[in-house]
């Protein structure tokens, strides 16, 4: 099975405190730690496991600038066979649909049976997979937490409310957005990183894939970020200050009053 996994380089929210800049036009990007979007790591791991079971290859693609190379190499070190970077200044400012259009062109330049995305990324929209499927006219399943490969089709589980799982049969080629917890993404060691350090990663711009500049980037975006802000906090929590000892004493007093200690 030929599998393409779409990955994104994002500020690591577990490692960073995200703040808004002075004029509210962007977040403060100095000194941010970037990494592969967490959901995408699960998608790459799932692709590797499917390939190892049924054969084929795994290609990782990122839309981005020169910095994207770092995460594409990381996912190759994880076990993806090849990488692609979709890079062009005309891509900048794309909304979700713009990104999906760029990825759809990447898909049409290859011969893939299966395309995986993460279920979500830093913007929390969970949109690119569904849009990509619609652009390709391929079937789609979102928030997938189980994949079983059969011949010409897959059996997939989707995460729905209450810890329940919705099982579907889906024909290939298809697009799936992958939820965290579907597997355990493997550790990427320094040896793996070294092994792929000098592998060439092809880059494609808008001309190579025949994209109309007006339909992508800032020009084509129907949805734009007008401003960032942090809301003025309302009542919020009563914060307990002091030493750990003092905090614990105060907390016990409150817990007793609220029936928290039996």
């Amino acid at each position: 099975m030929e599998i393409l996994v779409c990955v994104k380089r994002v500020p690591d929210t577990a490692e960073n405190e995200i703040a808004v800049n002075k004029d509210g036009s962007d977040i403060v990007r100095d000194d941010l730690v970037y990494s592969v979007n967490e959901w995408d790591n699960y998608a790459v791991e799932e692709a590797i496991q499917i390939r190892d079971k049924v054969g084929g290859s795994v290609t990782v693609v990122a839309v981005g600038d020169d910095d994207a190379e770092e995460i594409v190499r990381r996912e190759m070190a994880m076990g993806a066979d090849t990488g692609i970077i979709m890079k062009d200044s005309a891509f900048e400012g794309s909304d979700g649909l713009g990104i999906a259009k760029i990825l759809a062109k990447c898909v049409s330049m290859g011969k893939y049976d299966l395309v995986l995305t993460g279920a979500m990324a830093d913007d929390g929209a969970g949109q690119v997979g569904g849009m990509l499927a619609a652009l390709l006219d391929w079937p789609y399943a979102s928030v997938v937490n189980k994949v079983e490969a059969g011949s010409g089709k897959l059996t997939v589980g989707r995460e729905i409310e209450g810890g329940n799982q919705e099982m579907n049969e889906i024909e290939l080629p298809c697009v799936l957005s992958i939820q965290t917890g579907i597997n355990e993404p493997r550790y990427v060691g320094i040896r793996g990183i070294r092994k792929v350090a000098s592998v060439e990663i092809p880059c494609h711009g808008k001309d190579a894939c025949g994209l109309d500049a007006a339909s992508i980037g800032d020009a084509g975006a129907k949805v734009k970020r007008a401003a960032y802000f942090v809301p003025v906090l309302g009542e919020g929590a009563e914060m307990i200050e002091g030493s750990t000892d003092e905090q614990v004493d105060k907390l016990i007093e409150l817990l007793k009053a609220k029936g928290g200690i039996k």
Binding site: N168, K222, I261
Partner: protein, 325 residues
């Protein structure tokens, strides 16, 4: 005046709570809008849900067919595209259902798409401004949407909630024939696998010691169980703990896990993503301990401590233990 449509999520003949919320969100977009609810499903479900939706919506369209008994987005999407006039605004809940249906729907309607809306500033000409959260809820973004060619928006469940929804007693119209035949889909629904019941039913617990990423390792879970034991509480957790397989799914609190209604909820090392908070109901006394003073959990907690749970939990356990003798 915009034409606005709301796709109603429902289960076993009952509308989801978002039925009223989408109506309120629509009115925030355009108070003068003609808002139509759309209910898709098998006949008996459709009738019951459409009647419920008609309480809030002047117009309700139903699309009823046995093949639509389960909300398979691949079946529903082409029927909606056929039925909804181009240029309309379509609302749906930001749930696994909405996430499955809506990005593709926006593409097929050639409309703008914006997910997980948590606030509406308003419509000026063809520019709609809405608010959403990014970076795990750490900052908000104002999104300007060009709705001249229509738009599909998903709204976060709960944020447009109100007890005060005007009752209009609207009319139900059967649009099944207009929506065309149920299409052949390349994705077929098989079954729903219910969550396994664990050894502890956290939905029945009065006091929960709930742990998140801040617990750092599986071995450290021991301190949470020690605290829960001395407090007479149960241990629950947030999603990353289940993803790492440190605790079973039945202990996960959140929209994709269990809905709990304790009296006291101890959020230990949990940042408070909305998916997690969505699983906490009944207005419990929430205590939050987190290293990050900007963690969203502090916005909903009654009491907060900025600190490391790996120090605080053992100290708390020891003190309670001394107190109890």
């Amino acid at each position: 005046m915009m034409a606005i449509f709301a796709i109603i999520q429902h289960k076993s003949g009952k509308a989801d709570d978002t039925v009223a919320e989408l109506c309120l969100a629509a009115k925030k977009i355009d108070a003068a809008a003609a808002v139509t609810a759309i209910v898709v499903g098998k006949a008996a479900d459709c009738d019951a849900v459409a009647a419920e939706a008609a309480k809030y919506y002047a117009n309700v369209w139903k699309i009823a067919a046995d093949a639509l008994a389960y909300p398979n987005a691949e079946l529903i999407r082409p029927m909606l595209v056929k039925l909804i006039p181009a240029g309309s605004i379509v609302l749906a809940p930001f749930t696994p259902f909405g996430m499955d249906l809506c990005p593709g729907l926006s593409v097929k309607m050639n409309a703008a798409y914006c997910a997980d809306v948590v606030g509406v500033d308003g419509l000026e000409g063809a520019a709609l401004t809405v608010n959403r959260q990014e970076y795990a809820g750490q900052v908000y973004a104002k999104m300007k949407i060009d709705v001249s060619g229509g738009a599909v928006l998903t709204c976060r469940p709960g944020v447009f909630a109100s007890d005060d929804v005007p009752v209009v007693n609207g009319a139900v119209a059967d649009k099944t024939a207009d929506a065309g035949a149920v299409p052949a889909a390349k994705r077929r629904f098989l079954e729903v696998v219910e969550a396994e019941v664990g050894d502890v039913d956290i939905t029945k617990s009065d006091v929960l010691v709930s742990v998140g990423r801040g617990i750092e390792s599986q071995e450290n879970l021991e301190i949470a169980f020690d605290l829960a034991k001395i407090m007479g509480a149960d241990v629950s957790c947030s999603r990353p703990i289940v993803d790492a397989k440190w605790l079973e799914k039945s202990r996960q609190v959140g929209t994709s896990g269990q809905t709990v209604k304790p009296k006291v909820y101890m959020a230990m090392g949990i940042s408070g993503a909305f998916q997690h908070l969505g699983g906490i109901k009944g207005n419990p006394f929430i205590v939050a301990v987190n290293k990050n003073p900007k963690a969203p959990i502090f916005q909903v907690a009654e009491v907060g401590i900025v600190g490391d749970i790996l120090e605080l939990i053992p100290a708390l356990t020891e003190k309670i233990s001394e107190m109890k003798g």
